[in-house]
Structure formats: C-alpha cells, structure tokens
C-alpha cells in the first residue's frame, strides 16, 4: 500500500459525506446503500465514522458526471476511467466522482427495482422465463400499453411475480417535481420534445418536463435508464430472442461465439442465420459498491497499491462476497489506527447454531460452482459451502463451510481439481489459485492465474479438471480452453483453443468439469444439466439432470 505525500489524512474521526446527484442506472435507494456499504468497508477497520448530510459542504462530496465535470480531470466515456477522488483536505479534498458514462450495477448485470405490479420494490430476476421464452432484460412482451416489465423470480409462469421497470412515463428522479412522471410532449425554450433530452444541460443527463410546458412551469426531473433490449448491433435496441440459431447451432443465452472481442451478443430474431439481426447483451457493468470503496480509500488518504489483490490496486476487477484485503487494512490502519473490538471478518457457525442448512441445494438449485474428485470422494461446491460423498448413489453430506475445511481459502471457489501424483487439491477463485495438501495451504500460495500462463485479462476460470487419459489439466473459460502440462509445469503451446472445435458436443460457459474415478467418463456441468463425455471417443453420450443424478434430490 502507499499513502499520499506527507501522509495526508483527516484530523478527525467523524467524516461527513453528501450525495450530490444520482446515476439513472439504479434505483436511488440502491445507490444510497452501495455508498453506505462502501464507507462501512473502512469504518469496520478504523475508528472512523461516516455521517451522511443532505445540505451544505460535506468532507466528502459525491457526484456522478461525464467528460469534463468541473474539476479539470475529465472522464473519458464508457470504460477506461471509471471514477476518481481527491485526497483528504479542505475544498475538493475527499471529493469522489463517478463517470456517468459507465453502467453502474452490482457488478453482475443490471439492477432493476420494480414499481407497482404485485412485487413493488423488489428487484428484477434476470434471466426470467415468460411464455417459454427467456428474458435478460425488461420487456414489453405481453402488454399493449408500452410499459416494460420483468419477473422478480426466475419463472414468471410459476410464480407470477412482476413489476414495472423504470421508465420516464412511470416516474423521474431528482429535479424539482417530486419524482412525477415525464409529460410528453413538453415544450422547452419554445421547442417540443416527445422524449427525454440532454438539451439545456452540460452534464449529459437526460431530463424531461413533468408538465406540458417547462418554460411556464419550470417543473422537471431526470429520466431513469431504459432497461430493455440490446445495445449496438443492428436491431435498434430490440430484445434478445431465445433460443436463437447461429451457424446452425441453438443458443439459449447470450454468447461470445463468433466474435474475436469476447463481447456477449444475441440474435434479436429466432434465427440469426436467416435474419442477421443482432445486438450486444447488457453487460455486467461496474460494481458501484466496489468502485466507491476504492475511491473512498483515496478520500481517506490511500494511494494506489502495487498489490494486485488489494482494493486500492488501480484496475477494476469484480469480487463477489468482498472482504477488505490485508494490504488495505494495513494501509488505512497505518493512518488512523485500528477500531477497537473489530468483528471477526468471516462469521463461522458456533456449535449452538446447529447445522448449516440455510443453503438447501435441492430446494434452491440453480447451478453448481465446482465439482471435483478429491481422493475417493466426490465434492460439490456452491457458494460458501461444499458437500461430499464416497458413494454417488447416496445424497452428498453437507453443507460444510469451505473455509472450515480449507482454512485460508476464499469463501467461494470457481473451480477445483486434484493434481495427479502430488495429491494436491487446486482451488481457483477469481484471478488466483490455491494449492492444498489435505487442509494445509502450501507455501507460496495463492498465486495469480498468470503464473499458469493464463492471460492477464481473465477474471476467473469457469472449470478445471485433470484428464486421466493424458494426465493433463484442462482449464475452461467462456468458449475457450487451455491445456496445462502438470509434469512439465507449463501450459502447452497453441492454447487457448475453442471448446466447440475440439470437445465434441460440449457447451461453452460450463460451470464445472470432473472425471469420475477414471471410469471412462468425464462430466460437464452447466446450469441444471450435465453432459457425460465418453473419454475414449470424446463424444457426449448422455445428458442428465444434476439434481436427480448427482445430488439425490
């Protein structure tokens, strides 16, 4: 870690902050919560407290802006620079600015809070199924009034829970009109507008009048982000159509197949080969919480860290179940000291808590994170937990906390495999991997994925397994895979290759892969189903249900 010159810091422990404006990307309450959570990252480990004020000059003034937004340090449009903040001090000191040209989310895709319907205030569940079709965005399907809606559970057919997505016709935010809806058409400086406009503003925000004449009434509000459809492409923002056909193959999710830039796209008709209509799928966006936590680190006196795992490393990477890394804790405590009575970072159940049963794999099953054959047992990993069995005809035992069995492991893992001969179990999580001999972490771990010669731009791996057929380890990510030579401890030449080219019938974006006791079959898990691969002929010979065949549900 490092500090600004002269160890610039606040000379008080109670810091005030004020949110000057909001992004249209998420509901105001979600922005408020993300900011508060980001401050909590730092107040949890220092004596600092953060108090929000709504008027006057706060120590940390927070705003969203585009390009040149008033401080001489312009943003640069989508991607690139995401945000910046000033070190502690008077005036602009501590102020934190976020680039409004980014898509602000929770880091995992659009966060849409619905209004009205029968699920008012809940979040859209993407993807959701309606009329047999899968939707990754809000949709106008099934309505004639033009309002967009979403299901707040995965299956609208079954649960019937829905609400309306933000739209200018339903309501605005900010401004001076009490969040009333836009009134279209409206007049502004004598000209008529029938949609939200940036006219008259320097900050790039879209606004509308909430009466038919702004010039007379001066009532206005800002427009929320449209939450349906694709971006770019040639479909004018139409929604994806699932399933769709591309080069004769059927896709039921967005795919990056066919693109060299790895961007996810979809067809907006059921057959791309015939219609050639397509668009980019809404991306994951950037986690406002994570970026804000980083910026507030600057606002409190931390400069960028050289530690790639630190929150204060300058590049963005998404981390689920975030815990402030040690480097950042050391850095901030060097400035402000530690908080007395700091809570343990990872809550673990006490014997009196009873069994950890709140994650019922059968009841809530969506997919599995990783599966591995470790010694003679088959292990299933999901979120913070794992289950295991030595007899696949019986329901696996568990759940157990990953960190209880493998101390020092991150809460959630992406992929696991057993390295042949050494008996080491290798765990992947985010951009790193860990090696354990039984429950002992080996020295020198965790290591960066780049130590395996995987490219630096890979955020995580999807799955990994050692194939007994050739004793090589295969590492899967999206539609590509790499082959690692365990004996020579290096990646084989000529990789990555496309999964579709060499693994006959195997889908991209697999969740987990493993070989079951070397009995001639490997298993590729994806969402609710698995593909069984005949190792000898490298051919899929069975498709089955994970819950039924593996989890004993």
């Amino acid at each position: 870690y490092s500090h600004f010159p002269n160890k610039m810091k606040w000379s008080k422990e109670k810091i005030t902050y004020r949110i000057l404006n909001y992004t249209p990307d998420m509901d105001k309450s979600i922005v408020d919560d993300s900011i508060a959570e980001a401050f909590k990252v730092w107040s949890d480990v220092t004596p600092l407290t953060f108090e929000r004020i709504n008027e006057g000059e706060a120590d940390i003034m927070i705003k969203f802006g585009v390009k040149e937004h008033g401080d001489g340090y312009p943003f640069d449009g989508k991607d690139g620079l995401l945000a910046h903040a000033f070190p502690p001090g008077e005036g602009t000191g501590g102020d934190s600015h976020f680039d409004e040209d980014e898509d602000w989310t929770n880091g995992k895709g659009q966060v849409v809070k619905v209004r009205y319907g029968n699920a008012d205030g809940e979040l859209c569940h993407f993807p959701f199924v309606y009329n047999g079709k899968t939707y990754n965005t809000c949709t106008k399907e099934g309505r004639t009034d033009g309002y967009t809606w979403c299901s707040t559970t995965a299956d609208f057919e079954k649960d019937n829970k829905y609400g309306f997505c933000p739209s200018p016709e339903l309501g605005t935010f900010g401004g001076n009109a009490n969040e009333e809806p836009c009134k279209f058409p409206f007049t502004f400086l004598g000209k008529t507008y029938s949609s939200c406009t940036q006219e008259g503003r320097k900050d790039g925000s879209y606004w509308c009048s909430t009466t038919s004449n702004y010039d007379e009434d001066k009532k206005y509000g800002f427009c929320p982000q449209e939450t349906q459809g694709t971006k770019g492409g040639n479909s004018e923002g139409s929604s994806c159509t699932f399933p769709f056909i591309f080069l004769g193959k059927t896709y039921d999710t967005c795919t990056s197949t066919g693109r060299s830039d790895q961007k996810a796209w979809c067809s907006t008709t059921s057959n791309y080969d015939n219609d050639k209509k397509w668009g980019f799928c809404p991306g994951s966006g950037y986690s406002l919480f994570l970026v804000a936590a980083h910026e507030f680190g600057h606002a409190l006196g931390l400069e960028h860290s050289k530690d790639q795992n630190a929150l204060m490393f300058p590049s963005y990477s998404f981390i689920e179940n975030f815990h402030l890394p040690k480097d950042d804790i050391d850095g901030i405590q060097d400035l402000y000291g530690a908080r007395s009575g700091v809570k343990p970072r990872y809550p673990t159940p006490s014997p009196t808590d009873g069994p950890v049963t709140h994650l019922d794999l059968c009841k809530n099953f969506k997919n599995i994170d990783a599966v591995a054959q470790i010694r003679d047992e088959t292990y299933f990993f999901k979120d913070r937990y794992h289950w295991s069995t030595s007899d696949i005809r019986h329901k696996p035992r568990g759940p157990k906390l990953n960190q209880d069995t493998w101390p020092g492991l991150p809460e959630k893992v992406d992929a696991v495999y057993e390295r042949p001969d050494s008996g080491f179990t290798i765990f992947f999580s985010g951009k790193q991997y860990w090696a354990y001999s039984r429950s002992s972490l080996q020295s020198g771990y965790p290591r960066s994925l780049t130590a395996l010669s995987l490219p630096q731009n890979i955020e995580r791996v999807d799955a990994a397994f050692n194939w007994k057929k050739n004793k090589k380890t295969y590492i899967f990510y999206k539609n590509q895979y790499w082959r690692y030579n365990e004996r020579r401890q290096k990646m084989d030449h000529g990789y990555p290759k496309m999964i579709a080219d060499n693994w006959n019938g195997i889908h991209e974006d697999v969740d987990a892969v493993f070989q079951f006791r070397g009995l001639g079959h490997s298993y590729f898990f994806k969402r609710w189903y698995y593909l069984r691969l005949d190792d000898k002929h490298v051919k899929v010979d069975k498709v089955g249900n994970i819950k039924k065949d593996w989890l004993g549900c």
Binding site: F4, P5, Y73, F75, G77, D79, G80, L81, L82, A83, H84, A85, D99, E102, K231, G232, G233, N234, F246, L247, K249, T257, G258, R259, S260, D261, W265, Y272, D273, W278, F280, Y286, V291, H294, E295, H298, E303, H304, K306, Q308, P314, S315, Y316, S448, P455, Q456, N457, M498, A500, D501
Partner: protein, 85 residues
C-alpha cells in the same frame, strides 16, 4: 471453426483502429508515469515510463509495449494517477 459470418460490428465509436504507441503515451501521461520522469529532471522517455508502469503492475519489466502491457493499460481503472502528483 464457427468464427465466420458472425456479427463483427462494434459499438459505435469503438471501431477505429488505435495505435498502441499513441494509446500508451496517453495512458502513461494520464496516470502519472511521464510526470514522474519530468519532475526528476529527466526527459520524457517512453521506454522508462513503460518500465515503471510494468513494475507497478507486476509485469515482466522489459520497457516493451507487449500485449500483456497493453492489456493492463486497457483495463478499466481509477482515474487517480499511480504516481504521486
């Protein structure tokens, strides 16, 4: 390989080919690596600035604009410079 006839149009404004050297110079200027050299009385030297940047990012320090270095530069990031201003 199913890589033909796929959509290859990029989002508006993203299709212009970018010169890596120009991009790198802008990046290094923006995040403080050129400034560091200037403050210490030296001339702007791309290779030295790239070395400093590679060292910070934990990359092999070669001074060359190799693909890993460009990828690191193109990652979304914070606008605060890496080198104290």
């Amino acid at each position: 390989a199913p890589t033909v006839a796929a959509p290859t149009n990029y989002l508006e404004g993203e299709s212009e080919p970018q010169n890596d050297v120009d991009f790198a110079k802008k990046f290094l200027m923006k995040v403080g690596y050129f400034k560091k050299q200037n403050d210490s009385g030296g001339l702007f030297n791309l290779k030295d600035a790239v070395r400093d940047m590679q060292s910070f990012y934990g990359l092999p320090v070669t001074g060359q604009l190799d693909s890993n270095t460009i990828i690191a530069m193109k990652k979304p990031r914070c606008g605060v410079p890496d080198v104290a201003a």
